[in-house]
Amino acid sequence: MARQEDAPPPAAAADAAAGGRRGRRGGREGLNPPSWLAGGFLLPALLLLGFLVVYPIVYSVVRSFFDASGDFNGLDNYTGVFKGHDNLVAVRNTAVWVVVAPTIVTIIGLLFAVLTERIRWATAFKLVVFMPMAISFLASGVIFRLVYEQDPDKGVANAAVVAVHDTFAGKTAYPGAGPRAGQDQPVRAEGSGDGVPVVTTKPVEAGGSALLPLLRVKPEYLPDKPVPARTAPAAKPGQITGTVWFDFTKGGGGTPNAVDPTESGLPGVTVQALRGGKVVASTETRADGTFTLAEVPPGSYTLRLPKDNFTAAYGGAEWLGSTLITPAIIGAYLWVWSGFAMVLIAAGLAAIPRDALEAARVDGATEWQVFRRVTIPLLAPVLAVVLVTLVINVLKVFDLVFIIGGGDPNASVLALQMWTKSFGEGDQGTGSAIAVLLFLLVLPAMLFNIRRLRQERK
C-alpha cells in the first residue's frame, strides 16, 4: 500500500513543468511533457521488474554453473538434469506434456467453438466449460484426486469405467464363490484356483431339475434385499429348471445341498446347458435363484456356471498408478484449459468475414470443405496464439502435478523437479539449471511475441 503514496511526488512536481514547455514544432509536439517525467511514472514498475524478474534471471544463469555448496562445476548441473532415473522421467514427462496437452486442448477448443456456433445456449455452455479456469490448480487437483480414486465405489472415473465395462463384458456376479469341497457333491469346480467354471457332477436330463449350491459368497456381493431361495418348479418337457443359491444358513444349521428356508437365492448367475462341450441353451437366474432353460432338445446335459460368474470383479483403471498417472493429470489439465482455447477460437471464428464462407458455399463447397479450406486457414493465426500460450503454460505446470501426483516421481515434470531440487533437496545449483532450461524453452515463445508486436506496430 505504501507504494500508492510513493507515486504522486514525481508527478506532482510535473504540475509546474507541464505548463511551461511549449514547443519547437508547434502545438502537438510542444504539448508533450518532458521525457524525465516518464521516469517518474515508470519508476515503481522498473524497480520491481529489475529486482524481482530481470536480476533473478541473471542470477539463476550464474548460479546454475555452481554446485549445491557453491563451488564452480561448469555444465555439470545441466548434464545432471539428463542423468538418473527420476530426472529422465521428468524430462520425458515434460516432453509428453508439451506435445500432447496443447494439441488436445486446441483440438477440443476448436471442436467446442465450432459446435457452439449453432446452438442458442452457447453462452451457458461456454461459462460451464470456462469455469475451471477461474479456480486454482490446487482445488482442481483435489477435485481430480477424488475423481481418480481407485475404488470404483468412490472414484467417479472408475465407477464410469466399470459401468461401461460391465455393460459390454458382463458383470461379475459372485467373485470367489464356488462349490463345496469333497466328493459326491452335486456340483464341482472345473479346474482349480479362483475364477473357474462350476459344473454339475451328474448329467441332467431334459425335462428335469437340478440343484446348484454355492458357498463362499462374500456378503458385499449378496443382493441388498436377498430373496429366500426356492426349489425350482418341475420342468416341462423341453426345459431344464433348477436353483442356484447360497447354501449357507446364518447361525448354523441347515442341510447341506438342500434349499433351506432362510438361505438366499443368487440372482444374475449365468447358467448354460452343455452337450458334447457345446452350449445348447443359456439363461440367468431370477431373484430367488431359480432358472429355466427353455427349448432344450431331449437328451442329457451338463449344467455349467461359466467362470465369468466368479472371476474377480473388474476394478477399473489404475489412474494414479505409474503408467497412467501422467495421462491422468493431463486429463485434469484439459478440463481446466479447454475453455481458454474455446473462448479464443470462438472469438476468432466470429471475426471471420461471413462473405468468405458464403462465397465458398456459393461455389458449391460442402460444409467440410468450407471448414477445411476456408475456416481453418483463416483461423491459423488464432490457433498459433492458442498453441504458443498453452506450450508456455504447460512448461510451467507445477501445482497440478504436485497435487495429483502427490510426490510420485513417475508424475514429475521439470517445473516440479526444479522446486524439489531447490527447496526439497537443497541443491540450488541443479534447481537453477532446470529453471534456466525452462527459461530457454520459452525463449522461442518470447521471440514469437516480440515479432507479433513488431508486426502490429507496422
Binding site: D15, A45, R118, A122, I135, S136, V142, W419
Partner: protein
C-alpha cells in the same frame, strides 16, 4: 435513412452477438442437414457440459458428507440417501484457527497484490502509451519479452535476496510483504502490456484537450486515463486477483506458517489424502468459491482480458 441504419446495424451485430447467424439463402437439403447436425451437436454439448460439471459437483457433495461416508461409498450415493448430507466438515474446518488464519492471509496477500499491480502498471502503461522518452519502444519490447518468463527462474534468487532483507524484527523471507511484491513483479509485464494497448487506443484529442487546459500529467492520468481505462483495469484486476488467490508455488517458497495462504495450508494437509477428505474437500471448496463468485460476477471482463492478453 434512420431505419436503414438501424437495420444494417442489427444485421451486423447479430453474427457477432451469438455467432449463430446462418446463411441467408440455403438449400432445403442443407437446412435439413443443418438441423440434424444441430440436434446431434446439442446432445453432444449437453453431455460435455455434464462432463465438465460432474467433477466440481463431486467435490461439493463430498464436502457435505462425513469422512466415514466418503470412505465407504461414492458421493453420488447422496442422490439415493440424502440423509448423508451434513455441514459438520465445514463447521469443524471453520473452527480450526490455522485454516481461518490462512483464509485471511489469502485476502491480505491478494488484495494488495491486485491493487498494487493495477496502480503501478497503469502508471507505467500511461508512460508507454502517451509520454515520449528515449528508448520507449525498446523498453516496451523488454516488458513484452518478460511476459513469458517462468516464475521458476526467480525462485532461488529471490529467496536469497529476501533472506538478506532484515530490518529490525522484520524478515522479508516468510513475510506477506515478500509474497505480495513477488506477485506484483510477475504480474506487471502482462498488466503493462494489457493496459498500454488499451490506453493507446484512447483518442489523442481527449488528451490534447486536457493538456491544452493546462492539466498536469498526473491530473490527466487520474481524471482522463484511469476512468476511461475502466474496462481494461477491471479485466486486469480480475486476472491478477485470480492469479494471486489461486497461487500455490510462490507461497510455498516465500510464505511461512504464519503468512501462508489457504492453498499452502491445504497442500500441507494433502499427505493423508483419504483420511483428510473432511478437511480437503470443504477447504478446496471454500478456496474456489471466491474465485467462482468473482468469475460469474465479472465474467465479461474476464473473457475480455483473456482475449486482449492473447490475441492482441
Amino acid at each position: 435513412m434512420s431505419t436503414e441504419d438501424s437495420l444494417t446495424k442489427d444485421s451486423a451485430e447479430v453474427p457477432a452477438a451469438d455467432g449463430a447467424a446462418g446463411a441467408p439463402r440455403r438449400s432445403v437439403a442443407a437446412r435439413v442437414v443443418g438441423r440434424v447436425g444441430g440436434g446431434v451437436a446439442q446432445v453432444v454439448l449437453v453431455l460435455v457440459a455434464l462432463f465438465w460439471l460432474v467433477p466440481t459437483l463431486g467435490l461439493f457433495v463430498a464436502s457435505l458428507r462425513s469422512n466415514q461416508d466418503n470412505g465407504s461409498s461414492g458421493w453420488w450415493t447422496v442422490f439415493s440417501k440424502p440423509s448423508q448430507l451434513t455441514f459438520s466438515s465445514y463447521s469443524s474446518l471453520l473452527g480450526k484457527g490455522d485454516f481461518v488464519d490462512s483464509f485471511w492471509n489469502t485476502v491480505l496477500i491478494t488484495v494488495p497484490a491486485t491493487v498494487l499491480v493495477v496502480v503501478i502498471a497503469s502508471l507505467a502503461a500511461y508512460a508507454f502509451a502517451w509520454l515520449e522518452f528515449p528508448g520507449r519502444d525498446w523498453l516496451f519490447l523488454v516488458v513484452v519479452a518478460l511476459l513469458v518468463v517462468p516464475v521458476q527462474v526467480a525462485l532461488v534468487p529471490v529467496a536469497k535476496l529476501y533472506g538478506e532483507i532484515r530490518v529490525g524484527g522484520f524478515h522479508m523471507f516468510g513475510s506477506i510483504v515478500g509474497v505480495v511484491l513477488f506477485h506484483v513483479a510477475f504480474g506487471l509485464p502482462f498488466a503493462i502490456f494489457l493496459l498500454r494497448n488499451f490506453f493507446a487506443a484512447i483518442p489523442r484529442d481527449l488528451l490534447e484537450a486536457a493538456r491544452m487546459d493546462g492539466g498536469s500529467e498526473w491530473t490527466i492520468f487520474r481524471r482522463v486515463i484511469f476512468p476511461l481505462g475502466g474496462p481494461a483495469i477491471a479485466s486486469l484486476g480480475i486476472f491478477q486477483f485470480l492469479w494471486v488467490w489461486n497461487d500455490l508455488l510462490v507461497s510455498l517458497v516465500f510464505a511461512d506458517t504464519g503468512s501462508q495462504p489457504m492453498t499452502k495450508w491445504l497442500q500441507s494437509q494433502m499427505r493423508q489424502f483419504s483420511g483428510n477428505i473432511d478437511i480437503l474437500a470443504p477447504g478446496a471448496f471454500i478456496s474456489l468459491l471466491v474465485p467462482l463468485v468473482v468469475f460469474f460476477a465479472f465474467q465479461r471482463y474476464f473473457v475480455q482480458g483473456v482475449l486482449a492478453g492473447s490475441v492482441k
